[in-house]
């Protein structure tokens, strides 16, 4: 056997030999080389990301891109009477956080707002073009403030963004404070992460009657709808709120122009088992004597719930099919083909599930979940308010144009009503009530006051995820620990009781994606050999060996070499040509490739491994230690990539590079964890040796760690919280975990290291209590300071007389001048 080191057929020798050498007796006996210590990646990751980067990222996305998209989509308003009178938004951006005092603009800092019960907000500035009067003279007005928006701390618009410790101290801010919250009327408000089911994805499930259903919640900028296809008595129906009764699915297909039954079956798939299952549905349609599109539409028209103004039912159902039924699938120029194929795919997946119950979707699977962050929530709110402001302006203009006025009215005067946006945003964030009729959204408790009980409590708040559905659901399913939560959501940190398992917390390295532009990605897919849907016949779609390519829930087309396509996409991602958060997931069971670039997916970074050998080598780590390389460089050089929950299914992730685990072939390992401890969250990370505890103990500690008294922030004595408990002699824990050092708990300790004598196994013993030494209490053990805020209004009586706050005055001998004064 040749020596191990000289493998002649080593393909690409990069540094040291990448290909695993042929083992020889000597190579096996050689000492195992030390594994690369990759822990340093974790602090590097947290340095570039911060502890609550998902909040800040999402808000940054909103103020840099989202807000512009909203305005671009609604950029023109016109007077009804005279379309020549219009206003066009040319640009929108967020200014510097400031406040207007007597027509003077003053910049403000977060701490100033906390102390003066103000809102930390920045002006929303637009550049507008508008016409005035009958002559339609065009005017331009740059830098026009349409309202003030509360600003998330440490976001791009915040004065604290990118400041170092000394500068933060000058602003009265604690450098350990993670930001990611708002200050509204002096109160710190967090917009909690909301968990919901994926939008625009097919979910196959059973309903409470045990029927198989395929449901899609469609969500686009214009419409939101829910489409359910269900199977009842072996016949398949469409359920839609707009119809009084369930419509047989074959009727729907006919209404969309697929008139022959053969075509329907071809679209679903030629497998005779599908045809068998469809048989009764087809028969039902035939007994109703529906053969043509016209007949089908007529049949459906009769079942429309709301006939619209004028009570004309004719033609309603076609509009419903176009605008409501699986609304996210576009109908261009009356071409229903994409919708037909989509429906057929839904049917096919349903029938698959009936034939093989393995293919049911799991609603609790984290890959089917999306997290809604503050950026998205504020974005919805802003869109609503912006539209309200515009319609309000148009209404006023329409009313005014009827009347004769001395001076011509223009839109720039009307959108001046700053209150709509300013007060709307402020009210929603301070009350937590997201009531947006336009989007049928009525949520309570979206934002909450940031708990400043302890440093840990406020950190824990920022990573909390609240569920969308009602808490009273006693079902155990959603509460159970999901295997797909690994590394994404903390397995320990959940409350006890009512919300147990429903309220979750992010793990240490989790990232939540933001939306990414779809156009270029779609083009890239086609360039990489995806066959366009519109060019395919029903038969071809499900041809064996070819995979459907789904892009953000839409069917893009199909590909004949799915694995090759996926690999190409991943190569593009690793080389930074497409966004690092784009996920490519090959679903063998469904014969689908899912490409996702939508926001709200949870993902985490992993080290890429080639045949089980990590791409990150010792010299990379040395460069990191020397400060030449940052975490982003690791990403850019394709050493590390982000995987979302779905794509993790295509990966085999090893905990450590050097350990052979469970007889898994080393060459099949594709990724390696950066640091296994990151599967825990921030709060659970404080527990030393958590793997030696009974699991509920860790959960209890996660709830209690937040109650520990100690220091809250470096600026704690300059804060004006209504109640503040501080420890006089707070200590750093003697045993620090890695997480403690990363989150700065060793700098803002809570608690004291107590010496406890444990004795007496079954004598005069007590349970769950300790006897304290009085002298130690006298000497300062557990001594605390409670600070309370008292508010006094200094009244003004007019005539320049007003209350003034002063200290008690003494005369020369040190006696109080007024006896009712207290010192």
């Amino acid at each position: 056997m040749p020596p191990a080191t000289s493998a002649p057929d080593a393909p690409v020798a990069e540094g040291d030999a990448e290909a695993p050498p042929v083992p020889t007796y000597r190579s096996l006996a050689a000492p195992v080389s030390n594994p690369v210590d990759k822990f340093a990646l974790l602090p590097a990751f947290l340095k570039v990301r911060g502890l609550v980067k998902e909040h800040i990222d999402s808000f940054n996305y909103f103020i840099t891109k989202g807000i512009k998209n909203i305005v671009r989509a609604n950029n023109r308003i016109e007077a009804r009477s005279d379309p020549g009178i219009y206003l066009e938004y040319k640009n929108i951006y967020i200014g510097e956080p400031s406040v207007q005092v007597d027509f003077r603009v003053e910049t403000i800092t977060p701490h100033f707002c906390r102390l003066t019960d103000r809102t930390y907000s920045a002006p929303v500035i637009v550049d507008v073009e508008y016409t005035v009067g009958k002559t339609h003279t065009q005017h331009r007005k740059p830098s026009f403030t349409i309202g003030y928006m509360p600003i998330m701390l440490r976001s791009y618009a915040c004065v604290l963004n990118g400041k170092d410790e000394a500068e933060l101290a000058r602003y009265g801010e604690c450098p350990l404070d993670p930001g990611g919250y708002f200050i509204v009327k002096g109160a710190e408000k967090v917009i909690l992460i909301q968990e919901q089911l994926s939008k625009n994805r097919i979910i196959i499930d059973t309903d409470n009657k045990g029927r198989v259903i395929a449901s899609v919640t469609s969500s686009t900028h214009e419409v939101k709808s829910k489409t359910v296809i269900c199977m009842e008595k072996e016949k398949i129906y469409l359920q839609l709120n707009q119809f009084t009764k369930a419509i047989p699915i074959i009727v729907v297909m006919k209404a969309m122009g697929i008139e022959t039954d053969q075509e329907v079956v071809q679209m679903v798939g030629r497998d005779p088992r599908y045809a068998d299952l469809l048989y009764l549905s087809i028969q039902e349609c035939a007994t109703e004597r529906i053969y043509t599109q016209q007949q089908a539409l007529q049949y459906m028209d009769d079942k429309v719930t709301y006939a619209g103004a004028g009570n004309i039912k004719d033609g309603r159902s076609k509009l419903i099919l176009r605008d409501v039924f699986i609304a996210h699938v576009p109908v261009n120029n009356g071409n229903f083909q994409p919708k037909c194929i989509y429906t057929a795919v839904m049917l096919r997946r349903m029938l698959d599930a009936i034939l093989n119950s393995d293919t049911f979707d799991d609603k609790d699977y984290v890959g089917n979940k999306r997290l809604e962050l503050s950026g998205q929530l504020v974005s919805l709110l802003f869109e609503d308010l912006f539209k309200t402001m515009n319609t309000y302006a148009v209404d006023r203009m329409n009313k005014n144009s009827d009347m004769a006025r001395s001076s011509p009215l223009d839109f720039s005067q009307l959108i001046m009503q700053q209150d709509v946006i300013t007060s709307g945003l402020e009210r929603a964030i301070s009350t937590g009530n997201w009531d947006i009729k336009r989007f049928k959204m009525h949520r309570k408790g979206v934002s909450q006051v940031l708990s400043r009980l302890s440093y840990m409590a406020s950190l824990g708040y920022m990573t909390r995820i609240t569920p969308q559905f009602e808490k009273t659901r006693k079902t155990s399913g959603p509460r159970a620990l999901q295997p797909s939560q690994w590394g994404m959501l903390c397995p320990c940190d959940t409350p006890e009781g009512e919300a147990c398992g429903l309220t979750k917390n992010l793990a240490l390295m989790t990232h939540v994606t933001t939306d990414q532009e779809e156009g270029p990605l779609r083009n890239l897919c086609f360039s990489l050999g995806v066959e366009d849907l519109s060019l395919l016949s029903g038969e071809e779609i499900h041809a064996p060996g070819s995979f459907l390519v789904m892009f953000n829930g839409l069917i893009l087309g199909k590909h004949r070499q799915p694995q090759k396509f996926a690999n190409n996409m991943r190569t593009f991602r690793r080389s930074g040509k497409i966004g690092e958060f784009v996920s490519v997931f090959v679903n063998e069971k469904q014969h689908c490739i899912h490409i996702a670039s939508d926001g709200g997916r949870v993902c985490r970074p992993l080290i890429i491994a080639d045949k089980g050998r990590a791409r990150v080598k010792e010299h990379h780590m040395k460069e990191l230690r020397d400060g030449i390389r940052s975490f982003d460089d690791f990403l850019r050089d394709g050493l590390i990539e982000y995987l979302d929950v779905n794509e993790e299914n295509n990966a085999l992730i090893a905990l450590y590079e050097h350990v052979d685990q469970d007889g898994v072939q080393r060459s099949s390992i594709t990724h390696i964890e950066i640091e296994p401890m990151t599967l825990l969250g921030v709060v659970a990370g404080l527990i030393p040796y958590p793997h030696h505890n009974q699991s509920p103990r860790n959960t209890y500690q996660c709830a209690m760690g937040k109650q520990a008294m100690g220091n809250i922030a470096y600026n704690q004595l300059f804060r004006a919280d209504s109640l503040l408990y501080l420890l006089v002699y707070a200590q750093r824990p003697l045993l620090t975990t890695k997480t403690i050092e990363l989150v700065g708990y060793d700098k803002l300790g809570a608690g004291q290291n107590a010496t406890v004598a444990v004795m007496s196994y079954s004598g005069y013993d007590i349970e769950d209590a300790i006897v304290m030494n009085k002298s130690s209490l006298d000497r300062g053990f557990g001594r605390c300071i409670a600070m309370k805020k008292y508010t006094v209004t200094s009244e003004k009586y007019g005539d320049g007389i007003s209350d003034r706050i002063a200290k008690p005055q003494r005369n020369k001998d040190g006696v109080l001048i007024k006896q009712n004064m207290r010192v």
Partner: protein, 331 residues
């Protein structure tokens, strides 16, 4: 006075032998008495021997980072020289004043004024440097030590006397911060607050009575002896290099851990050694905070204990125990 226990006399005559006596440290034997007496003495030393400590702080100006209550607590914990505490009055019993510290019988006034001027250096406010007493007899212990040092009265055996002179840190001031206050020190006892306790540690142990069964011991080989000797976590036994006999080097190093007895049993030689605590003999170790000397602490403790016993004796047999109760709570 007729007593129910009259007839049989339980009177004993305890003996004290001082082994070591330094300013702040003492080690002595107490013999011919029982554990109740020894423990009473120990507890009195910790909790009932009076000292002087700062009890009332009037803050005139405090722009430091620590709040007023925090500082007051820290000041209270500074040990003050209290040799005269026994003859002082408790301010609650003081007739000359109404307990606000305006009289010299019950209180000592302190002043502290410190201000960090514009130099960039952090100013450390310490008990040595900044706390000024109005009574030279009562001052922070480190000032006293410094004074003694200046006089050349330093005991040679106190090595740390040469070391840290910085005193007790009260607070650090940054540029522009100021601390001005008036503090009143009063007499008190450790039972009320630990700051009045003159004792750092007071412990006693039963003197062990160790008897080696030399006959049985001789049945052991040298290695066995060696391993038996080494089974004790503290150095109690040793082997005589000449006679190869096991000898007791330091009986008091024994911590009643039973390790050697267990070892002997494990070796199949129970009864190799017999260890008993001498129930009427105690070894005391006393360390003081420096407020009073160890000698004073012991003597004052005996005085206090005697006063307490007097209070019991002066009681009528059928009388209520109110006075005693008052004494116990008040000292």
């Amino acid at each position: 006075m007729e007593r129910s226990a009259a007839g049989a006399s339980y009177q004993r005559f305890p003996r004290v032998r001082i082994r070591e006596l330094k300013d702040e440290y003492a080690k002595f034997e107490l013999k011919d008495t029982d554990a109740s007496m020894a423990n009473a003495l120990r507890r009195v030393m910790i909790a009932e021997v009076p000292t002087v400590a700062i009890d009332l702080v009037e803050i005139e100006s405090n722009s430091s980072v620590l709040n007023d209550e925090f500082l007051a607590h820290r000041l209270g914990l500074i040990p003050l020289t209290s040799s005269g505490a026994m003859s002082m009055r408790f301010s609650r019993d003081c007739d000359a004043c109404d307990g606000d510290g305006s009289c010299e019988h019950c209180s000592v006034e302190f002043h502290l004024a410190a201000r960090a001027t514009d130099s960039g250096q952090t100013l450390e406010v310490t008990s040595t440097k900044d706390l000024r007493s109005t009574d030279p007899k009562v001052c922070p212990v480190d000032q006293q030590r410094e004074y003694q040092q200046a006089l050349g009265n330093v005991d040679a055996y106190e090595p740390d006397a040469a070391g840290d002179h910085r005193g007790i840190l009260i607070v650090k001031l940054r540029r522009g911060q100021e601390l001005r206050l008036r503090a009143i020190a009063r007499k008190g006892i450790g039972k009320d607050h630990a700051k009045w306790s003159p004792a750092a540690t007071v412990t006693f142990m039963y003197e062990p009575d160790i008897r080696i069964n030399q006959e049985l011991m001789e049945t052991l080989t040298l290695e066995e002896k060696q391993s038996w000797v080494e089974s004790s976590p503290t150095k109690v036994f040793d082997i005589d290099p000449v006679t190869q006999q096991v000898t007791i080097v330091d009986a008091e190093a024994y911590t009643y851990d039973d390790e050697v007895i267990k070892k002997a049993e494990a070796m199949g030689k129970p009864g190799l050694v017999e260890i008993n605590a001498k129930e009427d003999s105690f070894v005391f170790t006393v360390e003081t905070t420096g407020a009073i000397t160890a000698y004073e602490l012991i003597m004052n403790a005996i005085t206090v204990l005697r006063q307490k016993l007097d209070a019991v004796r002066l009681q009528d047999d059928d009388g209520d125990l109110l006075d005693l109760g008052a004494h116990l709570t008040g000292g």
